[in-house]
Amino acid sequence: MPDKFPESSEFHTLRIIPPAGLHYSTDLLRKMCDIWEKHGSGLIALHGQSGDIMLQGCSSENVQKAFDELNEIGFDLGGAGPALRTSMNCVGHARCEQSCYDEVRTHRTVINGFLDEMHRPALPYKFKFKFSGCPNDCVNAIHRADFAVIGTWRDDIQVDQQEVQNYVAKVGRKYMIDVVITHCPTRALSLNDDDTLEIDNKSCVRCMHCINVMTKALSPGKDRGAMVLIGGKRSLKVGDFLGSVIVPFMKLETDEDFEKLKDFCETVIDFFAENALEHERIGETIDRIGLANFLEGIGVEVDPNMVNHPRTSSYARMDDWDQEVEKWRARKAEAASASEAAE
């Protein structure tokens, strides 16, 4: 609207990628300020909703100059348009006991592995990653990322029963029942008569609540890793989507684990690039073609953790039921012999 804001055509924004986890030294911040004082308006948003440093207000002429100097001190350009976007990770490993994987390494491995998709926009539409260390999801990944990596664990919650008893002694039994026990979404918690806690870990859905409340008494298990949820986005065209579970668990420890993740990201991005309609987010693609077809496209086996419950409608074509059963049997047999071999 050039009439209303005469300078707006000259009012460019530079989206710059900050250090993963938004850690700064004052030195780095001051240098950034100095550059922006020289070439831009002096306005800076720390940070944009996607995670960029937004340097707001720059003439066309100065855009390149500002960028060059920022680039020299280590900053790179963020994403815009139909491209891979700038990402975020929670503070996680750096200062949080709930963190289930190395967010910084994961974030940098993924994004830096696909910079081409960020700097030379050629995707059907925008594509966002976000990284949260646990299901508290402090970067809102489940809704605000096409591809959310969220930490979790597979084994049992670690419990210090003495600390549980201390907690109950402090808050009272009634409070403990009303505020902790009855809030467990799957009734996996039971308060013993001696004020220790019985946890049915097989029924625990790793929601974090009991752990959040009793930070000293409870911790996530030791067999930690991450899950992948795909398809989150805001409302355009179809209404909001939350990401849905595509990979229920993967380890993120060895170099090999990280290679695997990168390969998987590549498969997903390629599938998106090839199959999404123009201006379609990947969540919309999945919605359009159906989850089963998407999984086949990216080579992932179905898993009951992907759905709230199996189908309720009998309107389905199931001629090939027996073949599908065979696939499942083969997978189970393979898994069984693999775990035998490992022993």
Binding site: D155, K202, L229, A292, P304, H309, R311, W328
Partner: protein, 359 residues
């Protein structure tokens, strides 16, 4: 009517007044009951605000009965239950008596005559089923046959209350599923599109009606051998069978294409959780009369996994929601396939859009 006599004018009396037929204690305390408990499986004990007590003995019937059986029930009621009886939603017979002393002889008599006493509380009550070949013109199999085989197996769970909560099993002889939702539902599931008997379409079939019935718009009008008929887009067709009743030439029944599917977790009551539909567990089971062994195996596997693992008062679906579907498939050793993933309208809402997962 073949006779030319003046037809009798029916009395449009509608729903009959039940009070003349109701057990006197129920009539007397109508709306005045205070609490109840159960004496033993199959025997309810209700106490009224005024202090009256009534004992009810529940016994299984086959629903589809001959006159001899109904008269036998009447004899029992006359001899042991003050000449009254009622039927339950699930076709069980109920006999009310005014003193606890009458309960024993009544129970004994019923058992002697081959009517199992039970179906109350946390038992497997009578399978609610549809009529199959007997009556409906479209069944894919004989639902009552399946029920018979299953009830032979489940008899012991009818006469005792050893389940976590009540279990409602239903069977339906086609996907229309007149039997409704069940904790376990056993329904015919077609697996192939209908084959059209083109010679008959012209005569018996109102074509626009059939076309309109198809949920996926897979039926088109077509000329076949110069005569107006229909054609089915076999890729689109979801084999639902809805075209068959309005147009029997849409032959969807067949030994190969008629399979059975087992669903779990349907619930009508609003106790604790909201009512829910049942969910697919197994399809593709052979329609294998007279004993349907594959069906019985799946049903008992599910039932005993529930019996062993669920907590008191958890219905089948609530138990599974707590332990998670992954564990359910693990415990029952049943396969999870792409067919379990919903792809009907609104399928996105069935995806797990959370990090709540089970390991």
């Amino acid at each position: 009517m073949s006779e030319a006599t003046q037809p009798r004018r029916p009395i449009e009396s509608g729903v009959m007044d039940p009070f003349p037929y109701m057990h006197p204690l129920l009539k007397k305390n109508y709306g005045q009951w205070k609490w109840h408990d159960r004496l033993r499986p199959g025997v309810l004990h209700h106490v009224a605000h005024g202090g009256d007590e009534v004992w009810t003995v529940r016994a299984g019937t086959q629903r589809q009965m001959d006159l001899h059986t109904i008269r036998k029930l009447c004899d029992i009621a006359d001899q042991h239950a003050e000449g009254h009886m009622r039927f339950t939603t699930r076709s069980n017979a109920e006999f009310m008596v005014s003193t606890e002393a009458q309960v024993g002889p009544l129970v004994e008599k019923l058992q002697d005559e081959g009517f199992p006493v039970g179906g109350t509380g946390a038992s497997v009550s009578m399978i609610s089923h549809t009529q199959g070949w007997l009556h409906c013109d479209i069944p894919g199999t004989d639902a009552s046959g399946v029920v018979k085989s299953l009830m032979d197996e489940l008899h012991k769970e009818f006469i005792q209350e050893k389940m976590p909560n009540r279990v409602r099993i239903t069977t339906s002889c086609c996907q229309i599923n007149c039997g409704g939702q069940g904790d376990i539902a056993i329904n015919v599931q077609y697996t192939k599109p209908p084959k059209i008997n083109h010679d008959l379409v012209g005569n018996v079939c109102e074509r626009p009606a059939v076309i309109a019935r198809c949920p996926v718009a897979a039926i088109r009008p077509a000329m076949v051998n110069g005569k107006p008929s229909l054609e089915v887009d076999e890729k689109k067709c979801v084999c639902c069978g809805a075209c068959y009743p309005p147009c029997p030439p849409m032959q969807i029944n067949g030994p190969e294409s008629t399979k059975l599917a087992v669903w779990v977790g349907g619930k009508h009551s609003n106790a604790r959780s909201k009512p829910t539909f049942h969910k697919l567990v197994v399809a593709g089971l052979p329609n294998n009369p007279p004993r349907w062994p594959e069906v019985t195996e799946v049903v008992t596997t599910i039932l005993y996994a529930y019996k062993k693992n669920a907590r008191h008062w958890e219905r089948m679906g609530e138990w599974i929601e707590r332990i998670g579907w992954p564990r359910f498939f693990e415990l029952t050793e049943l396969p999870f396939t792409k067919h379990h993933i919903d792809d009907w309208r609104g399928a996105r809402k069935t995806l797990n859009t959370s990090t709540h997962v089970y390991f």
